[in-house]
């Protein structure tokens, strides 16, 4: 049975529109015009317990709005959400005990005090006993390797350490469903990797379900087998990440380095495939996946090759392409 079940979810916002300039400002003040923005339209999906699902989409696609409806922060305009038997917007304590929301841009820790003080408040709010509290903080701090920083004022922590501490605060009550909105935003590569590893470990250890958005494709490839792609409020893809890549990038990048002894004519090279770049003895081609074997063997047969490599196109490019066309 799915732990998250979303049916025909939609959200319409009235947004005031204002023309630029003084005239527009006056008009805006006296006679405000509103336009209804459909931030989310007819979104349906379900997620099984223990899954890690990536939620992709360009800025303004409706990812955050969807997450806020799933966590019960805003009221859906249409459709229904069911999270392990609860309707999020009623915000029943039983429901809130089971979920968490981590937002990369917002922080709940008290700025001037050590994270441990904020954690103690959270423990009281979630009715976590003293011994449980010590044990959980110890365990999570070890997984996140921030044991030493919990007693320093939050304002003295680095961005990465702060994010880890936020994560600890959000997970103290051991939620079963994690909603993460850009959890690695602004972190350096090391901190990103650490957060990713932590999430993986948390998922395995507690069997938690995770739905995350991220602009860093590395987060998605490292964590998620399955992705949801949302574009202009509509869900346009729901399935395995590899299948998405295959569908949108059925080609490979072939880089070749020739022996310097031979003359290389551009026109001749073009017959092998879509030539992208030629610099001295180095050339790069884009080749459809099903032509790959044929193309490489004919290259090897007719020219003297020093080095040859085949690479998948960068995933960022593929995703950008998905967003551009807006459909799958």
């Amino acid at each position: 049975m799915p732990i998250i079940d979303v049916q025909n979810l939609g959200k319409v916002y009235p947004v005031a529109v204002k023309e630029p300039g003084m005239k527009g400002t006056l008009q805006h003040f006296f006679r405000r015009t509103y336009r209804n923005i459909e931030a989310v339209k007819q979104v349906s999906f379900s997620i099984e317990p223990g899954e890690i699902v990536g939620f992709l989409g360009p800025n303004g696609a409706g990812k955050t709005t969807t997450l806020k409806m799933l966590t019960g922060l805003i009221h859906p305009s249409t459709g229904s959400v069911d999270i392990s038997g609860h309707r999020p917007f009623s915000r029943q304590p039983k429901f809130l005990q089971q979920i968490t929301l981590v937002m990369g841009q917002k922080q709940q820790l008290i700025w001037d005090l050590p994270a441990l003080d904020s954690l103690r408040i959270n423990a009281a709010v979630y009715s976590i006993g003293a011994s449980d509290f010590r044990q959980r903080v110890g365990e999570l701090a070890e997984m996140l390797s921030i044991q030493d920083q919990l007693k320093q004022p939050v304002r003295k922590l680095s961005l990465g350490e702060r994010m880890k501490a936020e994560m600890l605060a959000a997970l103290l009550h051991r939620p079963q469903v994690l909603f993460l909105d850009e959890p690695t935003l602004g972190l350096d590569v090391n901190a990103q990797t650490a957060v990713r590893k932590f999430l993986q470990e948390y998922n395995v250890r507690y069997g938690a379900t995770i739905l995350l958005t991220s602009h860093y494709m590395a987060d998605i490839t490292a964590l998620c087998d399955r992705v949801l792609v949302i574009h202009q409020g509509s869900l346009i893809y729901d399935g395995r990440l590899e299948a998405l890549l295959e569908q949108f990038a059925p080609y490979r990048e072939v880089a070749v380095e020739f022996d310097s002894g031979q003359t290389i004519e551009q026109d001749k090279l073009r017959t092998y495939g879509n030539l992208q770049k030629l610099e001295g003895c180095k050339a790069t081609f884009l080749v459809p996946t099903d032509h790959l074997t044929h193309m490489v063997s004919s290259l090897l047969n007719t020219l003297k090759i020093q080095d040859l490599s085949i690479a998948e196109p960068p995933i960022e490019d593929v995703i950008a392409k998905v967003f551009e066309t807006g459909r799958t």
Partner: protein, 262 residues
């Protein structure tokens, strides 16, 4: 069980917020100076009234002083408990950190209303009490009379809190509304003097629209034994109605919460 949990949370809120405030030690001196300055100003104002034989109808100098003392205590209470919390609601809405509050399995109104306590209202509480004791001594009040202050004062504070919270809750719609709570504050200044000192139309306004009369005048009257029980009853009724209204209004406002984008 539930109550015990709220009490535990409240204790931690206060412990933690006092710790946070004490990070900035110089603030305490500022608070003492500003409290003394404000008090000197009010005393001087009151003195000007009574210097030339004028008096508020039915209020002797010492009795008016009692009202001023209660007003100062009230100011201390609001600086300690009310304003550090209720003036911040707009910030929560603006920055979207209200999200975190709403996601906690605890009443969000409780969280927003109690999560900080500021030690900087302490000077007002102390000086206000001194004035009340001094004025009471001159009038010749007894221990029981002082105790009689607490029920009407507590009810007045409850009404004030509820009104303030309702105003703070409107920031769900009008995000940049810092000033609404400031308006309330300036109206409260009227509580400095006995309500009988104002023209009739103002008296009606400060009794039925913004219940300033219930904040200082009624408690003072109760202390000197001049209050009709009907006023105390009215005070209780007002507090109960306003508090319920604040709870209902908050629930209503949250339906319109859209949460600051991402």
């Amino acid at each position: 069980m539930k109550l015990a949990r709220y009490a535990r949370v409240l204790k931690l809120f206060w412990q933690v917020s006092i710790a946070a405030e004490l990070e900035y030690r110089i603030n305490f001196i500022v608070a003492v100076v500003s409290s003394l300055g404000g008090l000197a100003g009010s005393l001087f104002g009151l003195f000007l009234f009574y210097r030339t034989d004028y008096s508020f109808p039915g209020w002797s100098w010492s009795e008016a002083l009692l009202v001023l003392g209660i007003f100062t205590i009230l100011q201390g209470v609001s600086a300690t408990f009310l304003s550090p919390n209720l003036n911040k609601i707009v910030g929560y809405v603006q920055e979207g950190t209200l999200d975190f509050v709403l996601l906690k399995p605890i009443s969000s109104q409780f969280w927003l209303s109690t999560h900080t306590v500021s030690p900087w209202g302490l000077p007002d509480l102390v000086f206000g009490s001194i004035i009340v004791l001094y004025a009471g001594g001159q009038i010749g009040l007894e221990a029981l009379d002082y105790l009689a202050l607490f029920p009407p004062l507590a009810l007045g504070i409850a009404s004030l809190y509820s009104l303030w919270f309702i105003l703070g809750a409107t920031s769900i719609w009008f995000v940049k509304i810092y000033n609404v709570t400031e308006v309330l504050r300036s109206l409260l200044e009227a509580g400095r003097f006995p309500i009988e000192g104002y023209p009739a139309i103002y008296r009606i306004f400060f009794t039925f629209i913004v219940p300033v009369a219930f904040l200082t005048t009624v408690p003072a009257q109760t202390m000197i034994g001049r209050s009709n029980p009907i006023w105390l009853l009215g005070s209780a009724l007002l507090a109960a109605v306003l508090f319920q209204a604040s709870k209902w209004f908050w629930g209503f406002a949250l339906r319109f919460y859209t949460s600051a984008s991402s």
